[in-house]
């Protein structure tokens, strides 16, 4: 790539981003990991980690991908940042198809698309100082900063609530929450447009979780960041997201804005997920009717045919085993893939969030 001179003061928010403009669009995204077996190592099957995702991310919003283990949310995150190459489908970032860009061509784009990882320790090189870690993006992308890299890094450290004096310390000297802040500082160094955060707070203590959630929100407001958040904690997701996509076995089963999803979930799986969240309220103990799903999530190697949820769904009929329900818009901004959706217009909500709010 060519060496670019960049004036850091000009980087953040140069082009005033139009809110509501499409930043990222994903169309029919598929990722299969082949399984090889036998004498000749022939491909006998595939882990269908991600199997046909279509969604958009608008500038400035937070879209969360939620689901249980094996639903493909982490794989999706790695596809969006192009740490993995999709088997099929298209990823378009700012009007440019990045689905099969080579490593070299992807490099300038890495400045715009960054990732935050779950394990704040595992993703920081223990032999590098904080200064070196946070400053690495500048060196890798050959970005010149006005007052030198050190000054820029120290500003970043302050931005994420660390002290500039931490510049020469090593990751092991920090607590989990502080390490996550270091990771966030590194992510922010190049003023990205899109941040894919894979379980950014789930390894942290409750009190620290809240600090980091608030920090992420502040940074979003300050720098007009767009987040794709990958998480399993539905309470945290509700707090941070504008829109939520619920995934099950490699497919999006429901995608809607926050209020729609939490108050009138349509897919039975979403209803079950929400109903399973333990709530810190003793009054609910034992006297709330819960939807309890049977068994575990099936293997993504051999997902059930048609609607993948039919093996655990209490509403499943014969059609669910033969015809795959398409992801349809059932209400404004609310899509679900189900033959027998819940909470359709006119129906009374049965979800915990909604009932409680009705009572408030």
């Amino acid at each position: 790539m060519t060496i670019e001179e960049i004036d850091p003061t000009a980087v953040p928010g140069v082009e005033a981003p139009a809110i509501g403009e499409e930043l990222l669009s994903v169309d029919g995204l598929v990722k299969h990991f082949p399984i090889r077996k036998g004498l000749l190592q022939r491909q006998t099957g595939a882990v269908q980690a991600v199997d046909g995702l279509t969604f958009n991310v608008t500038r400035g919003e937070t879209l969360s991908l939620v689901g249980e283990s094996g639903c493909g949310k982490t794989t999706t995150g790695r596809l969006l940042t192009r740490l993995l190459e999709p088997t099929a489908g298209k990823i378009v970032f700012e009007g440019r198809d990045i689905s099969h860009l080579s490593e070299g061509k992807m490099r300038p784009l890495r400045r715009d698309v960054q990732m935050i990882f779950q394990d704040p320790y595992g993703s920081l090189n223990p032999r590098h100082t904080v200064g070196k870690i946070v400053g690495a993006p500048y060196r890798l992308q050959n970005v010149k900063t006005e007052h030198g890299v050190k000054r820029a890094v120290q500003e970043l450290l302050e931005l994420v609530g660390l002290s500039p004096e931490h510049y020469n310390r090593y990751p092991h000297e920090f607590s989990g929450g502080q390490r996550q802040r270091i990771g966030i500082a590194r992510t922010l160094a190049l003023r990205p447009k899109l941040i894919v955060a894979d379980e950014p707070v789930s390894a942290l203590d409750v009190s620290i979780q809240a600090q980091v959630v608030n920090l992420l929100e502040d940074l979003q407001n300050e720098f007009d960041l767009t987040y794709v958040m990958i998480a399993h904690d539905l309470s945290v997701v509700r707090h941070v997201s504008d829109r939520v996509a619920v995934m099950y076995l490699g497919k999006i089963v429901e995608i809607a804005d926050r209020v729609g999803l939490y108050e009138t979930p349509m897919h039975p799986y979403t209803v079950a997920l929400l109903s399973a969240v333990p709530v810190p309220d003793t009054k609910r103990k034992g006297n709330v009717k819960r939807i309890r799903l049977e068994g575990d999530v099936p293997s993504p190697i051999n997902p059930p045919p048609a609607c993948r949820f039919h093996t655990r769904c209490w509403k499943a009929q014969d059609i669910c085993k033969t015809v795959e329900p398409p992801l349809l818009q059932l209400a404004p901004g609310h899509q679900a893939a189900c033959h027998f959706p819940e909470n359709q217009a006119g129906e009374v909500s049965t979800t915990p969030a909604a009932t409680n709010q009705a009572g408030n």
């Binding site: 009190s207 620290i208 945290v236 399973a276 819960r290 309890r292 799903l293 915990p352």
Partner: protein, 357 residues
């Protein structure tokens, strides 16, 4: 049921007193001397638990909650950990018992399930072998009888086709099934006390709900005392009758679940409640985190361990920084370790905290 079960070891135990409740922990301290100083993981906690009841121990990492459970089970190496105080299990003090005496109780009268069922089961032995082993240590039965018992236990915890699954290895089970198998193993000798250390943290939310239901059902069936250790207030709210909130190796608040959730009295408990987004309430604009980070257990802050992170410490005229508050009863068994006067506390809770939750 309240009669202490006959136990051959019991006669040899020196009994100073028998403790009041089925499980009676008194001033338990667990200290680990290290090169950097003494790590006071648990520094004086007391609680009681009856059969059929569930105690939730809540705290963040390093609060001493797991160390407490391991010391009840006698799983700390003597010599490495310095343990003082008393732990009466049905009248027998575990701290002054010999390791062999405690071993005979482990698995039989008190059992434990762990956070990560994959690493907690031996990868080289079948699930059945591991349950049979747990059963046969304490019961003189043939392998066939023990195997039959293992299959029964797997069936009881809801594992389909238990007669086939008994011969499977842990890695062939899904996460939820593994945790069920762990529970089957823990309950194989029908223990009176079950300790669950973050039993659902590694599980998916729908599976977590199943496991919590299972623990609740089994407790009713076996009438055992249960200690559930977790950082998730939602999980304790599901299961616990009483809750102990720990911070820096000590209990800072103790009460019924209703006390803790509806009328919490310690600023740290408030902080925990404010930190977690609630799915059952109107969405708040911002979470209210606790400032700072949990203390190092080598250098616990003087006075109240929470004082550097507390928004109310300045109200106590310096007492928070110098004097350690004791865990005192503020009425009907609700205990709190805080220098704030009851009036100030009630005021802060009603005006500052409650409206924002």
């Amino acid at each position: 049921m309240t009669e202490p079960a006959d136990n051959t070891v019991q006669g040899t135990v020196q009994r100073i007193e028998r403790g009041e409740a089925f499980l009676d922990v008194r001033d338990l301290k667990v200290h680990f001397p290290t090169d950097d100083g003494v790590v006071k993981s648990v520094d004086g906690i007391s609680f009681q638990l009856e059969r059929g009841k569930t105690l939730g121990i809540v705290g963040e990492s390093g609060s001493g909650k797991s160390v407490t459970s391991l010391s009840i089970m006698g799983l700390h190496k003597r010599g490495v950990a310095k343990i003082s105080g008393q732990i009466f299990l049905d009248g027998q003090d575990l701290v002054s018992s010999t390791p062999e005496e405690v071993r005979l109780l482990r698995g039989k009268r008190m059992a434990m399930i762990f956070q990560d069922p994959l690493s907690a089961m031996h990868p080289f032995y079948t699930v059945g072998t591991q349950i049979v082993e747990a059963y046969r240590v304490h019961n003189k039965v043939s392998k066939q009888v023990a195997r039959k018992h293992a299959i029964e236990m797997l069936d009881r915890v809801g594992i389909p086709q238990p007669d086939k699954r008994v011969d499977a290895y842990p890695h062939q089970f899904s996460g939820g099934m593994r945790q069920r198998a762990m529970i089957a193993m823990a309950l194989s000798c029908d223990p009176d006390l079950l300790i669950a250390d973050e039993p659902t943290t590694a599980l998916d939310v729908t599976v977590q709900a199943q496991i919590l239901d299972l623990i609740r059902d089994l407790q009713r069936e076996f009438n055992s005392a249960v200690i559930i250790i977790t950082h998730d207030l939602g999980v304790v709210a599901e299961l616990a009758d009483d809750i102990q909130v720990m911070y820096g190796g000590r209990a800072i608040e103790y009460g019924t679940a209703e006390d803790i959730f509806d009328n919490p009295q310690h600023p740290y408990t408030w902080g925990l409640l404010g930190s977690m987004p609630r799915i059952d309430r109107e969405r708040t604009e911002r979470l209210i985190p606790i400032k700072g980070t949990p203390p190092s257990l080598i250098n616990v802050p003087k006075g109240c361990a929470f004082n550097p992170r507390c928004n109310y410490a300045h109200l106590n005229g310096g007492a928070s920084e110098t004097e350690r508050p004791e865990l005192l009863d503020i009425g009907a068994g609700h205990k709190v370790a805080c220098h704030l006067s009851p009036k100030e506390r009630q005021h802060a809770w009603e005006t500052d905290i409650k409206p924002k939750l």
